[in-house]
């Protein structure tokens, strides 16, 4: 089976090569100059646009964590009870995550653009005039990105949470009912504690996924001159314009931040579980 060896080389070599390149300057093909830690210094201390893009991604992640995941949890709770129509809802909710980011991005761009103004027209008809705005204009473009991202992503969180809910054995609920617990009590004492591992998973995957989201935003707003630019978009643009090494350094910085956040979350959830004896 020499197949693995070839392909593990395909994995491992690029990984270390990125690390290596991140200490250089140039496009890695015709020009290369060693600059030590300068790239990292530049990114972390002086590159305002980079931090702006991190802020944007963080903003979208915040919405995804709260709005998208709470919505997904509520939906999963509802669907878990609605036995007969469960399949229908699962199929419908998961439709958006499987469509490509480009399709969703372009579709929503035309839906939101103020020139035909389809969404604004709809809001007017529903007598929700106060919600009307120029969705893709600089001041609200970031919010639109976050909302479209949540809209596309909630089905994915929903499927995982639903799978978690259904893995809770029915006997536990029956035992609780026999002991005289009402629905709310058994939700609080059985469902929530047993779902904590699933929540941790969904939170970590949401953070990792959303911080790296990119194609949808490119299609939806193409960065709005930096106002909705996300880190991966910067990396992509630097790679296109020949600043390959700088792109590598940015990739390393983002990767390190994400690894730290993910491990932090894991540690925190372990700590919390031990403390409360769950």
């Amino acid at each position: 089976m020499p197949a693995f060896l070839i392909f593990s080389v395909f994995y491992i070599y690029p990984f270390f090569y990125t690390l290596f390149l991140s200490f250089f300057k140039g496009d890695a093909i015709s020009y290369l100059e060693f600059v030590g830690f300068n790239n990292f210094k530049e990114i972390l201390l002086y590159d305002k646009a980079w931090w702006r893009s991190m802020y944007n991604a963080g903003f979208i992640t915040f919405w995804a964590l709260t709005f998208q995941n709470i919505l997904a949890f509520l939906l999963a709770l509802g669907v878990d009870k609605a036995v007969r129509t469960q399949k229908f809802y699962r199929v419908v909710f998961f439709l958006l995550p499987i469509l490509s980011e480009i399709i969703i991005g372009l579709l929503m761009r035309i839906f939101l653009l103020s020139d035909p103004g389809v969404l604004n027209h709809l809001l007017e008809r529903l007598h929700l005039d106060f919600l009307k705005r120029d969705w893709l204009a600089p001041q609200s473009a970031l919010l639109s990105c976050a909302l479209v991202h949540c809209w596309k992503g909630f089905g994915w969180a929903f499927v995982i949470i639903l799978a978690g809910l259904q893995s809770i054995p029915e006997e536990l609920y029956e035992a609780a009912r026999v002991d005289g617990a009402n629905a709310f009590q058994s939700f609080l004492k059985i469902t929530l504690p047993l779902m904590i591992p699933v929540f941790t998973l969904v939170v970590i995957l949401t953070i990792l996924g959303t911080m790296q989201a990119f194609a949808m935003i490119l299609a939806l707003t193409r960065g709005t001159g930096g106002l909705t630019e996300v880190p991966v978009m910067r990396i992509y643009n630097h790679l296109r314009t020949g600043q390959t090494c700088y792109a590598c350094s940015e990739g390393v910085v983002l990767g390190l931040i994400l690894v730290i956040v993910a491990f932090g979350m894991l540690k925190f959830s372990k700590f919390a579980r031990q403390k409360y004896g769950l």
């Binding site: 089976m1 490509s100 579709l107």
Partner: protein, 278 residues
């Protein structure tokens, strides 16, 4: 009696909530199809909210003639087909090897694959792109190799867990009948893991079909572009021709939705499996 009424009210509330969210998923897609049958004048007048008076396929004809969507479409089919075929071949062999053969460093290599799956490598496309440029593989072959590589680790992991569960007696019987190791793999083991192979095929097909970043970096020649890049291209060339773009988007959605409706069970299984590993 009171209990029953209470339950009914609760049920109605839950279903209203679920239905309204489901509607928000489906409505934009229906709107997209609807707009694709209109011309731009009609679209501006009724925001694409009224059903077209007659089904006008002019946009579809134009998107084929002027925007080359046929070429993009066939490219995508080609990339997806070849990539998935090679992923299935390599990953099933490798997974079988991990499951059945004993060799030095087996666990180490397997954990390397797992790590490759779990470590978030944001902008993993950067090193891959540089590598392909250096190898002078910025073409179809390079793209297929890179995409194959991306799908491997999850596929190997999935198949290995399935191979591990197969009873060894069957294989021993085949061995006694004089079957070679590869013969057992092909004749005995593979047919038994068909469900897992289904997950691998569908999951990877969607991934390749929806991939955008690497393809957009690699292909500047229109005749090589896959669908996702092609859609951006169509958009950039016909920015205000909304109905034309909508027909392109509709065409890009149709195959995915059809495949999804037929195989949603496998897809959801793949997503949950992928998530639970990480």
């Amino acid at each position: 009696m009171v209990y029953k009424v209470k339950k009914l009210v609760l049920l109605i509330i839950v279903h209203t909530f679920l239905m309204s969210v489901a509607l928000s998923c489906i409505f934009p897609l229906l709107w997209m199809v609807n707009v694709s049958f209109k011309n731009n004048y009609e679209f501006k007048k009724d925001y694409g909210l009224q059903l077209p008076k007659r089904f006008d396929f002019k946009n579809y004809v134009r998107v084929f003639k002027e925007a080359k969507i046929g070429v993009y479409f066939l490219n995508s089919v080609f990339y997806t087909f070849v990539t998935v075929l090679s992923i299935v071949f390599i990953s099933s062999l490798a997974a079988y090897g991990f499951s059945r053969l004993e060799f030095k460093g087996k666990n180490l290599i397997f954990y390397m694959f797992l790590a490759a799956m779990m470590i978030p490598l944001p902008a993993g496309f950067v090193p891959v792109y540089i590598l392909l440029t250096k190898l002078k593989l910025v073409n179809r072959i390079g793209y297929i190799l890179a995409m194959t590589n991306m799908g491997l680790s999850l596929s190997i992991y999935l198949l290995k867990t399935f191979f591990d569960q197969l009873p060894r007696d069957l294989e021993d019987a085949a061995k006694i009948d004089g079957c070679s190791k590869l013969g057992i793999w092909w004749n005995v083991a593979l047919p038994l893991v068909k469900p897992a192979l289904g997950v691998v095929v569908i999951f990877n097909s969607l991934n390749v079909w929806n991939e955008f970043v690497l393809a957009s970096l690699m292909f500047t020649d229109e005749n090589l572009m896959p669908l996702q890049v092609g859609l951006m291209e169509i958009y950039n060339k016909n920015v205000i021709d909304y109905t034309l773009i909508m027909s392109g988007l509709t065409l890009a959605c149709i195959p995915i939705i059809l495949i999804y409706l037929r195989t949603q069970k496998y897809i959801i299984k793949g997503i949950t499996a992928g998530a639970l590993v990480g």
